[in-house]
């Protein structure tokens, strides 16, 4: 490669910038520094000499264009010496383009107050759109449930299989382990007081009333809620939802309602399974660690644990299911036309539905306790 350099000399009272070799984006910065350090204020004529220049790229031409413009506006005569056709052409091209191009507007920096305001407003809009979704769900589409011929049995059955039957294993395993852990921790405490048999009371009530519904809801939110969001979100991106609408297949009827109904039907069953498995976990620990036989455990269980705890736990199922399914689907419908928003909305869907489930559980707790149940 030619040796590239810049000579600055005075000839006949004119400042001459003589470039050698190449002037490209790779060596532009150093030249720019050199040129910036020149004091042009005493000059009247500047000659930019490209006679020895081999190659000029478009970035460098922009630099030359800007330099020329600046010098001209300072009232300095500029002359470009060049015989190389290619270089002249690119200078000409850049000059023409720059004259018609407009500056890209940079968005102004925003203060913290403005950001906060916008954030609040966005959240408010989000809340409104969720309300609109719920409104549409109830007002417009409940009619499909009312008239029997509109119920999509096939879709509901499919969803029951997808989001619940296939979740039996993981719900059972998680619940068994939770039962085991809770029993093991309490056994340690109970042994100190010799109150071994009370493991049954403790475990029975906490599992049936609170733990099983919550554990099941959390597993289902993570497993099926997120799947709803991802599926509907992807369908939105691939325009499948639009295609459904133009064919007159209401997505609410085909996708939304069946999912909600399926989950509401199966959630109590899953909680029931979770109850069984958690209690089995407790029995195992009671047997091994505390020396309580299975018969004794079950006798005590039917004696001290009232059936209402079981029914309260089961009754929470449909409510939790409704929250998980609607939030999952709503988030899916909120997906924009880019893949990143699938990830964003899936995360949101899981976090929000677990949060909603816990709030709902707290409301249940307070209401039922105040009612004396």
């Amino acid at each position: 490669m030619e040796h590239s350099s810049l000579d600055i000399l005075h000839v006949d009272g004119k400042l001459r910038l003589k470039f050698f070799g190449e002037l490209t984006l790779y060596n532009l910065t150093s030249y720019q520094k050199t040129v910036d350090s020149i004091n042009f204020s005493r000059e009247t004529d500047v000659i930019i000499d490209f006679m020895e220049l081999e190659f000029l790229d478009s970035a460098a031409s922009i630099f030359i264009y800007n330099l020329e413009k600046k010098l001209l506006s300072d009232g300095i005569q500029v002359e470009i010496l060049c015989k190389n056709e290619d270089i002249l052409e690119i200078i000409h091209l850049v000059k023409n383009q720059k004259q018609i191009s407009t500056k890209i507007a940079h968005s102004a920096k925003r203060g913290i107050l403005e950001k906060l305001g916008e954030h609040t407003y966005q959240n408010y809009l989000g809340f409104l759109s969720f309300m609109a979704f719920m409104g549409e769900l109830f007002s417009n589409k409940i009619c499909y449930i009312i008239s029997f011929k509109n119920i999509r049995y096939k879709e509901i059955a499919f969803e029951i299989n997808e989001s619940a039957v296939k979740a039996f294993g993981i719900v059972a395993l998680t619940s068994f382990l939770i039962g085991l852990v809770v029993a093991y921790q309490s056994a340690y405490q109970l042994k100190i007081y010799g109150a071994n048999i009370f493991i049954v009371d403790m475990l029975g009530i906490s599992v049936l009333r609170e733990l099983s519904p919550l554990i099941t809801a959390i597993v289902i939110a993570g497993r099926s809620g997120s799947a709803f969001t991802a599926q509907i979100g992807a369908m939105k991106i691939t325009q499948e939802l639009d295609a459904m609408r133009t064919m007159g297949f209401d997505p609410y009827k085909f996708l939304v309602i069946p999912k909600i109904i399926a989950l509401m039907i199966t959630m109590p069953i899953l909680i029931f399974i979770s109850d069984i498995m958690a209690v089995i976990g407790g029995i195992v620990v009671a047997n091994i660690d505390l020396g309580i036989t299975v018969d004794l455990f079950l006798d005590r269980f039917s004696e001290v644990v009232a059936a209402k705890h079981f029914f309260i736990g089961i009754a929470k199922g449909p409510f939790f299911a409704f929250l998980i399914a609607t939030i999952g689907i709503y988030r899916g419908l909120m997906v924009k036309d880019d893949t990143q928003s699938i990830g964003f909305n899936t995360t949101k869907s899981v976090v929000e539905s677990i949060f909603a489930v816990i709030i709902c559980d707290a409301v249940f707790s307070i209401a039922l306790t105040n009612l004396g149940i």
């Binding site: 691939t238 325009q239 499948e240 639009d242 295609a243 609408r245 133009t246 064919m247 297949f249």
Partner: protein, 246 residues
């Protein structure tokens, strides 16, 4: 001839950006009608408004004598069975096989027997030039051109009177694109369809279209036949059609 679609003074605004401002056009029965214009001028948006996927800010759109602004739910449902829509990317249902995709409207809207639906699906598959062994594939297993054909077969399943196509030949190789053009002409002739399509494919435009509407600067700058389009003083028309010799 009857007017199939009437668009009157339509205005569309996204956030603060005006996309259409006072747009008018008329599609007549039996026509192949093209929507043309530079990228981003709002062709897809207009198409989406015609098929009720998007609301207009003001003005009116009339499709097959239904006024879309005041359409009732049941009427909208009837209307949707009278048209077919081919999306730019096909939008086949990815969880269904091709034959199930095509059969879906038939299964949902008619009480035809399984055997009859199968017959119809076979016919639609052959009419768009797919092979019958393709019918058992999923959308992810076929090429782009085949997807377009399958999506066309699906939009034709209910024998619609009106067909909307968004860039049907874009992304196809030239041979498939010409086949697609021939197919569309053939369908218009045998089924008596009215077709509204967005296209950038000059060859396809000259081969298939009866009338065009050029959208530029938020309005229709030309509506009519292709014959004397080159005389129109408009930058887009001059650059787009200028060099083409029939």
């Amino acid at each position: 001839m009857k007017n199939i679609i009437e668009v009157r003074d339509v205005k569309t605004i996204f956030d603060e950006r005006i996309v259409h401002n006072g747009l008018n056009l008329t599609v007549k029965e039996g026509e192949i009608y093209g929507l043309l214009g530079p990228s981003g001028c709002g062709k897809t948006t207009l198409l989406r408004e015609m098929v009720m996927l998007q609301k207009i800010n003001s003005g009116s759109i009339k499709v097959l004598d239904y006024e879309l602004n005041h359409i009732k739910n049941e009427e909208a449902q009837q209307l949707r069975q009278k048209w077919g829509v081919l999306f730019q990317s096909g939008a086949l249902f990815s969880s269904l096989k091709l034959k199930e995709n095509i059969a879906l409207p038939l299964v949902e809207y008619t009480n035809l027997s399984k055997a009859m639906i199968n017959e119809i699906v076979e016919y639609k598959i052959s009419i768009v030039g797919l092979k019958s062994e393709d019918a058992n594939l999923y959308p992810s297993q076929i090429s782009g051109g085949m997807k377009k054909k399958a999506a066309l077969a699906r939009s034709l399943a209910m024998d619609p009177k009106l067909l909307f196509l968004d860039e049907p030949t874009s992304g196809l190789d030239p041979i498939s694109a010409r086949e697609f053009d021939a197919l569309i002409l053939k369908l218009r002739d045998i089924l008596g369809l009215t077709i509204v399509m967005v296209s950038h494919d000059l060859q396809s435009i000259y081969d298939t279209l009866d009338s065009v509407a050029i959208i530029d600067n938020k309005k229709i700058v030309y509506e009519g036949s292709l014959g004397n389009i080159k005389s129109v003083k408009n930058e887009f028309i001059q650059t787009f059609f200028g060099k083409y010799n029939e």
